[in-house]
């Protein structure tokens, strides 16, 4: 499988009050296309920093980072190139849905296509398709304030998928949801992975680990475990996206 994310011996040090704190210390991680990987670890272990680096939002001090074929580090790219990478190759899902409050569910999904310069009509069709697939066909015109937490997170997943990214980075997407709804969201991400998207999910939630192909554990900035998840044995279920959606 082609790697959509390669993080190789990455280090990141922050200075605080004259003290150097190594948040990442030679961490390595790979996510292949079509693979769903869980990144687990206690608070302060470096999960979020790793996610920022993978999302072209931070630069490490050492190591190599490649996302969707673009070597981000040690190479240097202008901010415009990093933004282009983010809008075309990376989908983000957050702990909270982070929807734009003044846009409807459909418009929030269209937004990703709009940012990428897609024509309005095409963006609208894509948003309708995705939201209908995710069971929100009746809520297209609803503002986020009118949606439940689970519905909002499904809209966020649809938005992350709108530009047919190579990689989805999800930061504790189930943290604000109850067990059933949290699992539903992970199943959506699993469905996306099955269409060829690489998915990296930072999670504390052990209840749905059966959905992941690999589970990577991080502690004190180091990867301490990188093992096969239950899903690799074919025990998971997922929402099925049509093959035409991921090109």
């Amino acid at each position: 499988m082609t790697a959509v994310l390669t993080i190789d011996r990455v280090s990141r040090v922050f200075e605080s009050g004259g003290e150097r704190i190594a948040v990442l210390d030679g961490a390595s991680l790979t996510v292949a296309a079509g693979e769903m990987v869980a990144l687990k670890g206690p608070s302060g272990s470096g999960k979020s920093t790793l996610l920022l680096i993978a999302g072209a939002l931070d630069r490490p001090d050492d190591g190599t980072v490649t996302v969707a074929g673009m070597r981000l580090f040690p190479d240097r790219h202008p901010e415009s190139a990093l933004r282009a990478l983010r809008r075309r190759a990376i989908g983000f899902v957050f702990q909270k849905a982070n929807l734009v409050p003044f846009l409807t569910a459909a418009e929030n999904v269209e937004l990703a296509r709009f940012i990428d310069g897609a024509p309005r009509g095409e963006a609208r069709v894509r948003a309708r398709e995705l939201l209908t697939t995710l069971g929100l066909g009746e809520r297209l015109g609803s503002l986020p304030s009118r949606l439940s937490g689970g519905e909002q997170q499904r809209v966020a997943v649809a938005r992350a998928l709108a530009n047919r990214p190579a990689l989805i980075l999800a930061d504790e997407p189930t943290a604000a949801l109850d067990g059933a709804r949290g699992r539903q969201v992970l199943e959506l991400l699993k469905g996306a992975a099955k269409t060829g998207v690489g998915v990296l999910v930072v999670t504390h939630d052990d209840r749905a680990l059966d959905l992941f192909d690999r589970v990577v554990s991080i502690a004190d900035g180091k990867i301490v475990r990188d093992g096969e998840g239950s899903a690799a044995a074919g025990r998971s279920k997922a929402v099925t996206f049509s093959d035409t959606e991921q090109s």
Partner: protein, 376 residues
């Protein structure tokens, strides 16, 4: 997808209130500009209406619109005799107290030499003067045709009404025959005459001259040539039409213009402050959304447009409301308010530029927002 409009839709009431505030400031600027242009229109109305090529005035003066100018009545004949002069007209203007229906007010009286003079008056209704004892007044004097006006011991009948013939001070103008004008100028109340006689002054006030002589140059003749010839006369000064207009606008109204300019500038500063605070607050409110847009890879132009579109809409709404407010309140003002295309464009441009300047703080704030804030 226009994010600016969608965001405004969410807080339409606040947007409208801000736009209304800008509209009030815009209308203030428009009214001030309109008052100034109205005063300029009033001040130059007579010069433009008379439409003379030359104004021959008392030597050492700048003419009847700037200071007292006295020339003898015979000057009209002298000017008429200059080669190249098509016609010369006596011009006399004096400020008088008139009484209409028991109400006293000040008016500027013009002297007309019958039967030929007066065709240039902007008559709105009625007719021109035919004989002594008649008066043509500006409609703002408030006396209808057939009504009576008492001035300088004379009781005159209104036979015609003019439109827009007022002094920069707002006083209406009125035209009377040269004979009536002389009598009015010479009039002194009986008590004043008695007191003067008692004091040994036997003058009657007769002999009041003209303010100036206006002249038109024959078609095809050189204005400069005629001008140079009259300039050799030691007892008079001569001004062209443009000289006269320039004296009125740049001399008489200069301070007023500066005053209006400063006031408009002050309103612009207030507008800029209001827009700056509003756009900045709106940007801060959207901080998370802007961070999200950056995180999703939005180009700077999308974030910039979000702010500039809102600024532009605020400016346009403010301008539209400003014009509406101005059109609503302008008729309530006692003086002429002239908002021509020039004034409208000028004020609109000031508001747009002011709003753009006001948006700089918002743009600066947006540029400082880190995409990572969306994750917090």
């Amino acid at each position: 997808m226009n994010l600016a409009i969608r965001d405004i839709g969410r807080s339409a009431a606040r947007f409208l209130l801000t736009a209304f505030g800008i509209g009030l400031l815009t209308s203030g600027s428009l009214v001030m500009q309109g008052i100034y242009r109205g005063i300029v229109t009033d001040a130059t109305k007579l010069v433009r209406t008379v439409d003379a090529d030359l104004w021959v005035v008392e030597a050492g003066t700048t003419g009847p619109f700037a200071e007292t100018s006295r020339v003898p009545r015979s000057l009209a004949d002298r000017v008429a005799a200059v080669p190249g002069i098509e016609a010369a007209r006596a011009f006399a203007l004096a400020s008088e107290t008139v009484t209409t229906g028991g109400r006293r007010q000040t008016a500027s009286l013009l002297s007309l030499d019958l039967p030929d003079d007066g065709g240039w008056l902007p008559l709105q209704s009625g007719r021109l003067l035919r004989s002594a004892g008649e008066i043509v007044t500006d409609a703002s004097l408030g006396v209808p045709i057939g009504g009576a006006v008492a001035v300088g011991g004379e009781m005159l009948t209104v036979v015609g009404l003019m439109e827009g013939m007022v002094e920069p001070s707002g006083d209406p103008m009125a035209a009377v025959t040269a004979a009536d004008f002389r009598r009015i100028q010479a009039y002194r109340p009986p008590e004043a005459v008695e007191l003067a006689r008692a004091g040994g002054d036997s003058s009657t006030g007769e002999g009041a001259g003209l303010s100036a002589v206006t002249a038109s140059v024959q078609p095809g003749r050189s204005l400069a040539e005629v001008l140079d010839r009259i300039r050799t006369w030691p007892d008079v000064a001569v001004l062209t039409r443009d000289d006269q207009l320039s004296l009125v606008i740049n001399g008489r109204l200069e301070r007023l213009r500066k005053q209006i300019l400063l006031f408009t500038g002050l309103l612009s500063v207030i507008t800029a402050a209001v827009v700056t605070v509003t756009i900045y607050a709106m940007t801060v409110e959207k901080q998370h959304t802007i961070a999200l847009l950056k995180l999703m890879g939005a180009r700077d132009i999308i974030v910039l447009r979000l702010i500039l579109d809102q600024t532009g809409l605020l400016a346009l709404s403010g301008i539209a409301l400003g014009f509406w407010i101005e059109a609503t309140v302008a008729p309530l003002f006692p003086r002429r308010i002239v908002v021509d295309t020039g004034a409208a464009l000028q004020v609109s441009a000031i508001v747009v530029v002011t709003c753009l300047i006001g948006s700089v703080a918002g743009i600066w704030r947006a540029s400082r927002i880190d995409a990572r804030e969306a994750l917090s």
